[in-house]
Each structure stands twice: as C-alpha cells, then as structure tokens.
C-alpha cells in the first residue's frame, strides 16, 4: 500500500499546474447559468481544448491525453486549486461521453466527441419529466419508429443549462407494451434547435435562468442518433448514472480546494480551535481529505481490475452532504456578509460562497436523491431486502 506519485505523474501534474497558472482568468467568469456566463465558459472550454486539457482521460484521437484515472484526479486537484472556472461542458463530458465510449458506435464517437471536447456542442441531460423524478422509469415521453429514425414526443424538465445548450440526450419510451417499465426505453440524442423542440427556461432557486423544460412535438431523430439497441435505454443510461454519482462529476479536487479555502477564511478571521465553528471547519477538512483518499483507493481498485458499481451511491451521499456542510460553515463564518449573493459589490470575494451554498443545496436532490441512494446502498451493498418503493 502506498500513496506515492510516480515522477512521470508528478510531471504531468506540474505541467497542468503551469498551464493553469498561465491561463486561469484573473477575474472569475460570470455564472455559467446565465447567457453571458455560458458564452464565456464556452470560450474557456475552447481554450482548454486547444491545449488538450478539456478531456485529459480521453484517447488522443478525440482530443484527450490518454491520461490514467490517477492523472485525471491529479489534474482535477490542480484545476480546482487554481480556482479555474466551472465546466459548462460537464454534462456531455461526464455523462454522455462515457456512455458513448461504452455503448456508442465509432461513427457516433467520431461525430460527437470532438465538438463536445472543444465546447462547440454543449449537451443537456433530458431524463427527468414532470411526473418522473425518482421513479425515472415511469417516464412517458415516447419515441415512435418512423422512416429512417424516430419521432419524439413529450415533455422533459429540470434540464440543467438546456436554455443555452446545443443538444440533449435522453430516455424515451419506445415500446409501450413492454412487460416492465424499465424495459422498452430507448436512449436518443437530439438537437435543441430541431423542428418541434420548444425550450422554456426555468429559473432556479438562485434565480439563474439556465434550467429549462423541453416540449417535444414530433421531433425527428435519425437512427444514427440512437445509442445502443432500441429498448435497451435503461441499461445504457444506468451505466451513465454511475458516472454522475461517482468519480467523474464530483471530483475530489473540488472539495479539497473548497475545504482549503474555508480553512484559510477561518484563519483569516482569527478563528479559534475548540469552538463549534472551528470543529466544523476541521470536519470539512477531514471530510474532503477522506473523499480524496477514497478516490485514490477507488482508482487503485479500478487499476486492479475492479469496477465502479453501487459504491457510486456511497460517494454521492458523501460529497453532497460534505458540500452542503462546508458551505453552511462558510456562511456562518461570514456572519452578516454570508447573506451577500454573488454580484454584490460589497465584500465581492464573499459572494462566491453564497453561490456555492445555493448550488450545494441541490446536491442531495439531483443525480438521484440521497434517499434513493441510501436505499441502493442498503440493498446492493448491505444486502437488505427490497422494500416498497
């Protein structure tokens, strides 16, 4: 057992650090949940891609560096430590791309991945429906066979950044007579500006307008945009869900960097150990370190031939609760300044905590609520009997 980083991996880390030091914008970009911020972040994705930093773990032919998972973790640590912008391309990069690597065709990979890596095509996830949140398999939007493709109908909702994104991927019921709700679903990609698609922006809790609902009215999708076999959508999608909850979307670097900033804030404000707030700061540091080390262990297990399975539910609950606790502690530390949102011109540096706090509130809800994750942990990892769900 060791935690030693090989010199070649350290060199990779150093290269990333140097690049980030030279390129991370000095002034934070506006929120990527706004039209202006979305455009600025798209430009940032392009810059990352130009030097092959947007998708380091992908094969070179698709714009990556063939980096190992460990290098990816190191890159992410550097990325967040440098205070680099949030990733507007994350839904595509972390959710659709792994699905295409596993279930897509060569043609789909060649066509979709390059523009995704360069931020030219930003993807939205169209899974949830007004009546289908936790019980996603009950979804009602349909895909009906037509000449050379499919016709999509129905309504999707709470689609992150779909108000400004270019394309979407989602699940549709293609066989209404299938024996179980999980069967007879198909996984399809479609442009958000296709005829028949109406995008209606929804404000989020923080008022930012990038959330959206989608209305689909006889939207044509060619066969080439079906991922996996017809009727196999659930299986295909669930391999993506593991990514969303597990390693990729919520990389440890995000939390180690945030906990480091929290500790710095606490020291700056003259905090004393032994106080309730001090203990919470310590717990944030401990939690972030635990999550980082869990990531190293996970990478080691994968390297030894393991697979990410139900343990992605462990990480989901852990990071979302850590994120929330960490930001709540920051707001408590800031006292009256904790109430200032980003954009306030007094104490501007503090606004980013409020922004992070509002975002952290969503963590226990999206990517499968924490209640559902706890069920999965109990049933799949502890072997408890299935109850009514």
């Amino acid at each position: 057992m060791d935690l030693d980083i090989a010199p070649a991996d350290e060199a990779f880390r150093a290269e990333a650090r140097d690049w980030l030091a030279a390129h991370v914008p000095a002034v934070p970009l506006p929120s990527l949940e706004t039209a202006e911020g979305f455009a600025a972040h798209r430009e940032w994705e392009r810059q990352l891609a130009a030097d092959r930093w947007s998708v380091v773990s992908w094969p070179r032919e698709h714009g990556g560096r063939d980096a190992s998972l460990l290098r990816w973790l190191l890159f992410e640590e550097e990325y967040y430590a440098a205070g680099a912008p949030g990733r507007v391309g994350q839904n595509g990069i972390h959710l659709l791309a792994p699905t295409l690597f596993e279930h897509g065709t060569d043609e789909q990979r060649a066509r979709v991945l390059g523009p995704m890596a360069r931020g030219e095509a930003v993807w939205a996830q169209a899974w949830s429906e007004p009546e289908s949140g936790s019980d996603l398999a009950s979804l009602r939007s349909t895909a009906v066979r037509t000449d050379g493709g499919w016709l999509l109908n129905g309504q999707k909702t709470w689609s992150s950044r779909a108000a400004f994104a270019d394309r979407a991927f989602g699940l549709f019921r293609s066989d209404p007579d299938a024996a179980r709700p999980h069967q007879g679903l198909s996984y399809l990609m479609f442009p958000l500006d296709a005829p028949g698609v109406t995008v209606r922006p929804l404000g989020r809790l923080d008022g930012k307008p990038a959330f959206a609902e989608l209305f689909l009215d006889d939207v044509f999708v060619p066969d080439a945009d079906l991922i996996g076999a017809p009727g196999q959508g659930w299986r295909v999608a669930m391999s993506t869900a593991g990514n969303e909850r597990g390693l990729t979307l919520r990389s440890p670097g995000r939390f180690t960097a945030a906990a480091g900033r929290l500790a710095a804030l606490w020291h700056e404000m003259g905090g004393t150990a032994g106080t309730a707030l001090g203990e919470r700061v310590a717990d944030a540091l401990i939690g972030a370190r635990a999550y980082q080390l869990f990531g190293y262990a996970q990478v080691s297990r994968l390297g030894a031939g393991g697979a990410v399975g139900a343990e992605s539910s462990l990480t989901k609950v852990f990071w979302s609760e850590l994120d929330l606790a960490l930001h709540e502690t920051a707001l408590d530390l800031l006292g009256p300044y904790g109430a200032l949102a980003d954009g306030a011109d007094e104490a501007p540096a503090h606004g980013s905590w409020a922004d992070g706090y509002t975002f952290s509130l969503a963590g226990p809800i999206y990517a499968g609520t924490n209640e559902i994750q706890r069920d999965l942990i109990a049933e799949r990892l502890l072997g408890l009997p299935k109850g009514r769900r």
Partner: protein
C-alpha cells in the same frame, strides 16, 4: 501509487481475523472485565505468535521493525473482535521506549514485548492507566519525565468494564527532558493511530451484526431490514466507516514515512473512525431494540467500547484542534 493493502497485508489481517474468531474473544473479554486475567494472557500469547507485537519493535530488539501500516491493519481486527487488554498501550510503549534513546529500559522491555511476554501499559496525559492491574509494567509520562509506576490505585468502575482504569502510583523518574517529550509525542501518535483502527474494526463488527439482525428479525410480518428508516440508518453507518477507512490507511502511511503531516493525518483518522464507530454503536443499539440494551448478548461488549475508544488517546475535540493547527 497503489492505495490498497497488498496481498500479504490482507493475508495477515485474515489470519488474525480467523484466529480471533476461533478464540472466543467475548468470553475472554468478560473474564478480563471481572479481573480474571488468565484467558486474556493466553489470547495475548496467541496474538504474539502471529507476530503482532513484533510489528512495534525494531529488529535489533527481536521485532520485525516498527510497521505502522501492518499495525493499523491488525488493530482493525482487534477492534472487530473486541479484544480486551492494553495492546494499543503496549505497542505505544514499545514505540516510546525505542524512541527514547535510553538503552536500559529498551533492552529489558522490547524483546519481551515482541515475544508477547510482557503486557505493558502507558499513561500519558490522563489520570488513569489502562489495565494497570494486569500489566507487567506501567510507564507514566508527565511534564517531560517518565517513570515506571510502582503500584496503582483501586480499579475504578468504567463505562466499558473491559477497560480497567486505575491511577498509576509512585516510581522514580527514569528519564527526563526533550528526549522524553519527543518520544512521548511519537508514542501518542502510534496509540492514536491503532486506537483509530480499533474504532474502525469495532464499527465494522457492529454493522455486520446489525445487518444480519435486521434481516432476520420480523415485525409487522416483514423483516425490519425492509423498512426505509432502518435501511437509511445502516447506509449512513456504512458511509461513515467507508470514508474513515482510507483516512486510517493514509495516517498509517504518513507515520511509516515520518511525514511532517503525520500528526494531522492521524488526528483526522481518529476523529473519523472514532465518530464512525460510535455512530455504528448507536445504530446497532437502536436497531436491536431492547435486545441491544441487554447485557447478556455479546453485542453489548462492542456497544460499550465505542464511546471510551472514541475518546481514548485524543478526544474528537483534541484531534480536530490538531487538524486545524495544520
């Protein structure tokens, strides 16, 4: 980087687990609590035969070198089986004597510790020594001095009856000065590390026992393990333990390397493992209902240990302060 126990490390832990499983540790612990030491000394000898105590003693004194990673993995198993006695204190005392640089005491005690012939307790900071009545030697570190106690006060009733607490009394000063202080800091780090590991093992045992209980206990015509309130509590217990484990491993590695971050890493591991073990005990008690509150079933041995172990060798508050100090 390969942040996973090696095949040999896993095998060693498995051997220990198998041996302890076959040793009837609950009965040993109950005897120990009653002041009857023979079964405990026999178990001690069996532990020594696996090479456990040699892991805390350098080769020149008949050990296999101070191996913090192997020690931590072993103490997870000791915690899993609720092994009574002062094994944590003994390995910490070994680390102390070795680091002190006083050949005398080291020559006397280290070979005996490695061979499992000596049960040694160590008292640093607190008023009580663990198992002073059973130990062959009790070292007391206080304000830059170390002495070997000559006697002990009355054994005080304790929250965990298998942890026998008494004041160490008397004894002349063996050494003093900065060497004592630095050796003591090292010993506390070792004690804290292996206690954290014990908390982790204890929590694992409590979780496993509780999972098996809720699968077979039925109420309202179904297994209580199918109720969501029950499931979620167990899921949280697993999360606590799963994320404490890498902290314990990393702390052991940091100690092994003498890394400057070792003190902080060990403190972080102790907070996480101590709290996870305690939470596992509360969950176990709650989900076993009144059965959990009953002394007779052996589960009570584990439940009673959780809180004192969480506070031994650094309360969560002490350890959190250490983490903040950087």
């Amino acid at each position: 980087m390969r942040f996973l126990p090696t095949a040999e490390q896993r095998e060693f832990a498995r051997t220990l687990d198998g041996m302890l499983g076959a040793s009837g540790t609950p009965a040993v612990a109950r005897a120990w609590a009653a002041g009857e030491q023979k079964p405990g000394r026999e178990l001690w000898a069996r532990l020594a035969a696996t090479g456990l105590f040699a892991l805390a003693v350098p080769e020149r004194y008949g050990g296999s070198g101070l191996l913090p990673v192997e020690l931590a993995l072993s103490f997870v198993e000791l915690g899993r089986h609720a092994v009574p006695g002062p094994p944590a204190e003994t390995v910490a005392a070994a680390a102390f004597l070795e680091r002190l640089g006083e050949a005398g005491a080291a020559e006397v005690w280290l070979p005996r510790i490695a061979a499992g012939e000596a049960v040694v307790s160590l008292c640093a900071g607190g008023p009580y020594a663990l198992d002073a009545d059973a130990a062959d030697a009790v070292f007391v570190i206080e304000g830059g001095t170390v002495r070997r106690a000559e006697a002990h006060g009355r054994v005080q009733p304790s929250l965990d009856p298998t942890r026998r607490l008494a004041r160490p009394l008397g004894g002349g000063v063996l050494a003093e000065g900065p060497a004592v202080t630095s050796a003591a800091a090292h010993a506390v780090e070792i004690a804290r590390l292996v206690t954290a590991a014990q908390c982790l093992g204890l929590g694992r045992a409590l979780l496993a026992a509780t999972v098996s209980h809720v699968r077979q206990r039925t109420q309202f015509q179904v297994a209580i393990g199918s109720f969501q309130a029950v499931k979620h509590r167990l899921a949280d217990t697993l999360i606590g333990l799963e994320f404490a484990q890498p902290l314990v491993y990393a702390a052991a590695l940091a100690v092994a390397e003498g890394a400057p971050s070792a003190g902080r890493e060990v403190a972080a591991a102790k907070v996480a493992a101590g709290e996870a073990g305690c939470a596992a005990a509360r969950t176990a008690l709650q989900l076993h209902g009144a059965l959990g509150y009953t002394d007779e079933p052996d589960l009570s041995l584990w439940i009673r240990k959780a809180r004192p172990l969480r506070d031994a060798w650094g309360t969560p508050a002490d350890c959190r302060a250490r983490v903040l100090a950087g």
